[in-house]
Amino acid sequence: MKPWQKNVLYIVVIYFILLLGPIAGLDIPRIIQDIVQSPSLLFTQILVGLINGAIIAIIALGYTLVYGIIELINFAHGDLYMLGGFAALTVMGMFGMEDGAPLGTAILPMLVALLVSAGMCAGLNVVTERYAYRPLRNAPRLAPLISAIGVSFIFQNLGLFWGGLRSFIPIMGNTAAAPKSFPDLLPRTDIFQALGIETKIDFTVKDLTVLVVAVGLMVGLNLFVQRTPAGKAMRAVAQNREAAKIVGINVDQIIVLTFLIGGALAGAAGLLVGLYNNTIVFTMGFTAGLRAFTAAVLGGIGNITGAMLGGVLIGLLSALSDQYLSSRWTDAWVFGVLVLILVFRPSGLLGENLQEKV
C-alpha cells in the first residue's frame, strides 16, 4: 500500500469511529464535557480502575506464568479465581462475619480466608494440571486448550453447586445461581479526610488495603522469580524446556510449582474481589478471566511485569469506560482491545521482539 493510501485509510477509519462510536458510548465531545465538569470524578474512577486493575493483574499473572512455561492458555484460570471467592466466602460464613463487623474481629477470618482460598486454588490448579493438562503435553496445541475449556466449565458448575449449599453455609443466600453478598469488612474511612486533606476524591482504607495486598503479592512474586533458585529454574524452563532438563532441572516439578503459584494468586484475588466488591457470583470467573487474559496479552504474555501493567491498563479502561463510555458496552470495548492487540501487536507492550532473538 502506498503511503497516501494508508493515510486515506486512516482518515476513513477515524471518520467511521467518530460516526459510529457514539452508539457504543464513544461520544468525544460529551466525554470532554463530563471530565471538565467534574474532574474529581475522573480521579475517583482512576482509583477504582487502579484497584480493579491490581486484582485483574493478579489473575493475569496466573495466565502469564502458565503460558510462559507450557504455552497453554489456561482457560480455567478465571473460574479458579471464582472458586477462590467462594472458598473465602465460606470461611467468612464459618466465622459468622457480617457487614461492618469490627476490624479487630475480622482480621483473623480474613487471614484464614486468604490461606484457605489460596491453598485450595493452588491445590485445585495442581490437580488440574496433573490430570487434565499433563497427559496432553505432547499433543497438538489445541488439545490442552480444549481440555482447559472443559475444566473451566467444570469449575463453573462447581461454583454453581457451591452456591447452592445454603443449608450448610447460610451465607450462600437463597438460590444457587444468584450473586452472593460478601461481608463488607474493611472500613470505609476516607484516608484524605482522616489526614485532614480537603479533597473530593474518595480513597478509603478499604481501597488502600486491597491495593497494598495486591501490590504486595506482585512484588513478592517478582522477588521470588528473580531471586530464588526455584524462580530462576522457572525462568529457565520458560526459556527452553529441553535445555533446562539437560542442566538438571526437574521440569515437571517446576511446572507443578508454576500452577501452584498461579492458583494461590487466583485464590487471593478471589478473596480480594469479595472484600472489595462485596459480591461474588459463579459466572464472574469467565468475564474476569477474559479480562485478565486480555491484560496478560496486552502486557506481553509470558512477561510478569507486562501482566501487571496490562492488568492496571485493563482495569483503568473498564473503569473509565463504565463512567464515560457506557457500562453496557464495557465488555465489548475490552474484547475489542483484546482483538486489536492480538491482531496488530501479538507480542504485547512489553513482549520481547522475537525477531531479534533468532
Partner: protein, 534 residues
Amino acid sequence: MQNVLKALRANLILGGVAAFTVLLFGGWSGSMIGWLLGTAVGYLDTHEQSIPHPKVGLRIGAINGFALGLWVAAASLVEGLILRPLSGQAIVPLPQDLLHAVVGLAVTTVAAALMGAMQGLPRRRSKLAHQTTHGSLSRRQGTLLILAAILLFFPFADRMAQTGWIATVIQVLIFAMLALGLNIPVGYAGLLDLGYAAFFAIGAYTTGMLSSPHLGIEWNFWLVIWIAAAVAAVAGLILGSPTLPLRGDYLAIVTLGFGEIVPIVFRNLTEIRIVEPISSLFATLLNRPELAICLVGCEQPFNLTNGETGINPIGRPWLPFIGSFSSTNYLPWYYLVLLLVIFSMFMINRLRNSRLGRAWTAIREDELAASSMGINRVNVKLLAFAMGATFSGFAGAFYASYITAIFPSVFDFSVSVIILCMVILGGLGNMIGVLLGCVIIMSADRLYLPQFAQVLKGFLNTTVLPNIANPALRDFLAISVDPIQMRLFLFGLVLVVMMIVRPEGLVPNSRRRAELHSEDVVANESLADVRSVG
C-alpha cells in the same frame, strides 16, 4: 441361546442406553428407542463382516436385535412395576406394561433384522457384481433406504408412541446444521473458532429484523433465509479477516472475542442516534446545534434489536396446501429442517471433495508448503470461515422463525462451546461423526437431562425425603439434587475426557486420527510470521 448371550454382551452400551431411555420415559418409548437403536445394532454388528446373503444378515441382525430387545423389555417391566410407584407417577396396569415390553422386544428385533438383511446385499464393487445384481438394491442403497424411512416416518411414530420427542429432534437438527458448519473451519481447515455462536446470532437477528413487525419489514421466510445465510457469510469474511495472520490458540481467542462482542452489540443496539461528526463539530464550535446533520434516530433514538427483550414475533414460513407453519404442528418444521440439514450435508460434501476442500486440508497440514504449492491461503481461510458461517446463517434463520422470538442471551459462549463439543465428540472433520456427536449431546442435554431431573425429583419426593430426619440435609437434597444444574459439568467432562482418551472423537476421520495421535507435532509454520520479517 448361546448366540443371544453373546449378542447381549456385544451390545452392552447400546443396551444400556436403551434401558436407560425406557426407565426414564416409560410407556411406548421402548418401541421407539428399540426401533432406532435396533436399526443401529443391525448395522453395526453386520457392516464390517462380509455377509454373503441377506438371509444371513437377517439372522445376525435378528439375534442382536433380540438381545437389545431384551434390555428394552426388561427395562419396560422395571419401569412400570418398580420405578413408577417409587417416583410417584401414575401406575400403569400390568397387562399394559407387558404389552409395552413385548412390543418393544418385537420392534427392536424386526428393526435390527431388517437392517441386517440390507447388509447382506451385494456391495456392487466390480462391474461383474453390478451386472449380476442388475435391478436389485446395493448394500449402500438398502441402508440409505432404511435411514430415509426412519427419518420420514419418525414424526408419525413419535405421535403414535406418544413420546413427544419431535420438538427435541427439531432442536437436534438445528444444531446439526451448526455443527456441520463449524466442522468446516475447525475440522477441515484447522482453524479453531470459539465464537461460532456469533454467526448463528447474526443469521437469527437478520431474520428477526427482516421478518418481524418490530422494524415493520415482514419479508417472506423463503427469501429471508437466503439473506440471512448471505449476511452470515459476509460476517464470516469480515470477522475472519483479522484472524488470518494468527493461528492456533491466538486465533481461538480472537474468535472468542468476536463471539462475545456480537451478542453485546445485539443487546445494546437499542438507542441508535447517528450524527455526522464533522457537522456536529462545527455545530459545537459555533454553538449552533441546528448545523449538526442527523442521520439516524433523529426524533427518537432508533431501536434496532430491542435489547434484552429481543425481537418478537418473527414471521413463519408459508407454503401452499400447508399454509403458514404453526407452533402446534411440528410436522412441517421437522421436514423443513430435515431438508435443510440434508441440503447442508450435500453442499458440504461437495465442498470437501473439491479443489477448495483439498486446499483446506493442505492449509491445515502445512500452511507454508500449501502456500508454496500455489494455494492462496488468505482466500482459502476466509472461505472456510465464510462457508462455516453460511450454514449457521441457515440454522439461525430457521431457529428465529421456529421459536418466533430471539434474545441475545441465547447466543453466548456456552453455545459456541456446546457446538464445539459436538464436533469434537463425534470426530473432527467427519460429517457422520459430527452428526452423531450432535445427536448424543443434544438429546442428552434437551431430552434425557430434563426427564432424568423430573424422575429423580419424583423419586426424591416420594421415596427418599420423607424418610430423612435431618432438616438441613433434607433441604439440601431437595434443592441441590438437580441434574439440570450439572449441564456445564457434563459438557466440561466430555471435553476433558475426550481430549485425553479419544481426541479423534467417536467416529474418527482416519486423517485426524493420525494427526492427533502423532507424538511429533509438525511445526506448522505460518507464512505470515516468516514474512513479517521482511
